[in-house]
Amino acid sequence: MIVPFGHVLLVAGIVFVLGVFCAVVRRNLIMIVLGIEIMLNAVSIAFVGAALRWHDLDGQTFVLFILAVAATEVSVGLAIIVYAFRRTGSFDPSNFNLLR
């Protein structure tokens, strides 16, 4: 016996709220992408806990897919950030106002 399932969900929820905080408050493109990674990590914790709760390996399968999609999105996102930095010279998202 480990822990009640609600505690696992709580841990995942707290980490997810921290990720949302990072993505919303920080004014740095790299920190925003880091916040997205924190959120993905929190969801992975919830999925693996749920796989143990219901004895279903689908939870762990989905964490495998989350890992792959996170790697994809980070590589393309960072390539875009590097390109945007070379265009405008800063990481501050309020400087990207070319459409205005």
Partner: protein, 169 residues
Amino acid sequence: MTLYAYFFYLISAVVIAATAIAVTRRNMVHAVVYLIVSYFGTAVLFYLFGAPLLAALEIIIYAGAIMVLFLFVVMMIRVEAPEEVMFPLRQWLPAAVFGLVYLVAAVVIILQTPGTEAPLKMLTASPRQFALYVFEHHWFSIEVISILLLLALIGALHLGKGSAKREQQ
């Protein structure tokens, strides 16, 4: 409370503390390194919940490739002056308040739902069982993900090469 329960609470505290510290760093390299600590804690949590292959993959892919990619980008782009206006109160207080409200709502919902007091039993899916399950039931998603990774490779290559060519001009 068994030994595994102590482990779970200790590692969860480490994960939450490391993530909270990582979110509030001004130096990006410090934030990434604290996040690597958080990912190690998550890998231990995966191992506790009976997913040893996922624990290894988390360390190899997440902490070992994705965070190192972040470090490469941060070190490649030399930032001369501290650019980020860090945390004026007017900016982070609403976000923190709303986050706390959501957290309280989540706590209430979790406590009210009848199925969540059930303690988890220790059970492990060995890599062989996990791999057999994945490739038996979800082989098509694996193919789609391989195409997705190919797309990411092509996209990153194109974006990187375009800016390099422009710099040479």
